[in-house]
Symmetry: C2
Subunit: 359 residues, 2 copies
């Protein structure tokens, strides 16, 4: 394969892969293979410290936030968040149901307390996101939860939503560090690594310190953010390899790319090229998401019939494009163009799409 458009785990920068590969044999500063280095070594402490510093620099994050590295993916965050913020509270939490992933978060929250679904995109076929006028955010909500980019449907919020006086909690798994995001306006941001950040198995959680001022009693230690804060993310053995790669990726973003403004421009250009090819196809390719809510990360579209889509996917595979099948829940085509996807690869895909259409 030449080009990997997989929805995740996604493509990583070539230079990062080369460094990860070298470290498997030997980390020169330690003199050991990466997989045999203790998570309590000075070297790994420096890896975590640099990763955190890179993320803080990229997001211009104020000091009153913790940056944690956890396991269990976004799915475990669906549970840990309401355990902290909803359990035993005399408040309800506001959730948006904008697609596959935000829908998965809701039943977990409902185990811990009252949930209000303040927007349900199902009636719009999960093809668009709400306007501010359609959102009835409660002033007394425990928190507001939403997913910034719905990976499956290719829907992305291009603004911060909700009220500044209610804690904003956002699953940024599929667009974290893809563009500037006004991190200081959120109370809690979480993102698994395997889209823009590194290999599967690591999850970044950024939370404002005051969220830990009032924690329900009797949380299990592994499920209590305070354990991970206190232990600087090595309460138990973390995924050392995955976090090393996250460090390399954040370093690449900071030094090679030059920060999130530039990354956002690159991603916007790639997305514009691909949506442009769809829009110029006279309806041969049909975008799933309404134009204002189109994702810069996941470009979801259909062809005239499932048979034609199968033919498209087969030809694409032969031509060296992998990972283009839509999510199993939706079908169709999905081209995921995460940070490490190059403009050249997007150009090549657009040319393939034009050729396929003309045949």
């Amino acid at each position: 394969m030449r080009f990997n458009f997989s929805g995740g785990p996604g493509v990583l920068p070539e230079t990062v892969l080369q460094q990860a590969q070298a470290a498997i044999a030997n980390v020169p500063e330690v003199g050991l293979p990466l997989l045999g280095i203790s998570h309590r070594s000075d070297w790994f402490a420096a890896v975590l410290a640099e990763t955190e510093a890179n993320i803080r620099a990229l997001l211009d994050l104020p000091d009153d936030y913790h940056v944690l590295f956890l396991q269990g993916g976004a799915s475990l965050q669906f549970s840990m968040i309401p355990m902290l913020l909803l359990r035993g509270r005399d408040k309800s939490a506001d959730y948006l149901r904008t697609g596959y992933w935000s829908a998965k978060a809701i039943p977990e929250a409902a185990r811990e307390g009252r949930v209000r679904v303040i927007w349900d995109g199902e009636r719009a076929g999960f093809r668009r996101l709400p306007n501010d006028g359609e959102l009835d955010c409660a002033a007394d909500a425990a928190y507001l939860h939403y997913v910034s980019n719905e990976t499956v449907e290719g829907l992305q919020f291009h603004r911060v939503i909700g009220r500044d006086d209610v804690p904003r909690v956002c699953d940024m798994s599929s667009d974290f560090l893809s563009a500037p995001c006004d991190a200081h306006r959120y109370a809690l941001i979480y993102a698994h690594a395997q889209k823009n950040l590194g290999p599967a198995g690591a999850t970044v959680v950024i939370l404002r310190r005051d969220l830990l001022d009032d924690v329900p009693p009797d949380l299990h230690t592994s499920l209590d953010y305070r354990s991970h804060v206190k232990a600087k993310s090595i309460y138990n053995t973390p995924p050392v390899f995955a976090l090393y790669v996250v460090m390399l990726v954040t370093r690449w973003l900071l030094r090679d790319i030059g920060g999130l403004s530039r990354m956002g421009e690159i991603n916007a250009a790639k997305a514009a090229r691909l949506y442009g090819a769809i829009d110029a196809s006279d309806g041969f390719y049909r975008g799933h998401a309404a134009a204002p809510d189109r994702s810069t990360m996941n470009v979801v579209f259909n062809l005239g019939s499932p048979e034609l889509e199968a033919e498209f996917l087969a030809h694409a595979q032969t031509a060296g494009f992998s990972g283009l099948a839509g999510h199993r829940s939706l079908g169709g085509i999905r081209a995921s163009i995460y940070n490490a996807m190059t403009q050249d690869a997007v150009d090549a895909l657009c040319e393939f799409m034009d050729d396929f259409r003309q045949r």
Copy 2:
């Protein structure tokens, strides 16, 4: 460094590291770098299937067990197990407190129900394990929980304990697949990968199917074993890289080593050599664990004073032996000699120990 005696993440076989390194650049069957391959690909389904088959073959595991690959380490199992087996039950669970790790499991269980600590090794300085006559295992316990090998203290059960009519639950994190273990006598076995099995970030859970016949209501989806059974361990994105390495290690155990009987012989020989060097040192080196309970995985010992221990560690480091410092909770020296540690490395350490003593 030439030799890595770290308590974990531990040393891995050289051939496994070479294969892992090659896969970072490209997995030939897929034509993509390992870190960009989807966890829902046919290739990864085959990786999980082979890993499971290898573990089943190595343990001669009956069909009525599930084999799961999870995240969160043994620490999350400390919580998931009592959530399943103790929550809402009119029974208590029997726990052994034999060292650092078994002690960590107890408070998590106590959040879910009644716990009886039926042996507390603290009065013996965590230097020995109980005899069968000292264990008062309740016939009506929800389950019995123990740790087969205490990594910190270097204590290992060389027999199966407890009653056959009460579910046995065992944390085998640090001796899983190091020797035959009568897996069919356990209801649930769990082990994180980073000792004998692979990189940190993956955890193997083996559980008898009937444990899932009666599950408490309202478990969070990520914390309910049934979610992972139903989804064949890809309920959410698993740590693809770590699990690929676990496959390579189990393949190495089966094909290169030839199974657990042979692995057990090799490990026993390495341990005998090292304890022999301690016992022949006229008290210069002093083993921590009582002889019958000495671990074949973690050889813990002291020298006459903390100053002498510091000198030993400094000289060892210079001589190419890393990871020999005891666990931070106990101090002293710990040589971890997991499956992938070679007899040559153990011989070299013993020679170094003799030289150091004679100087």
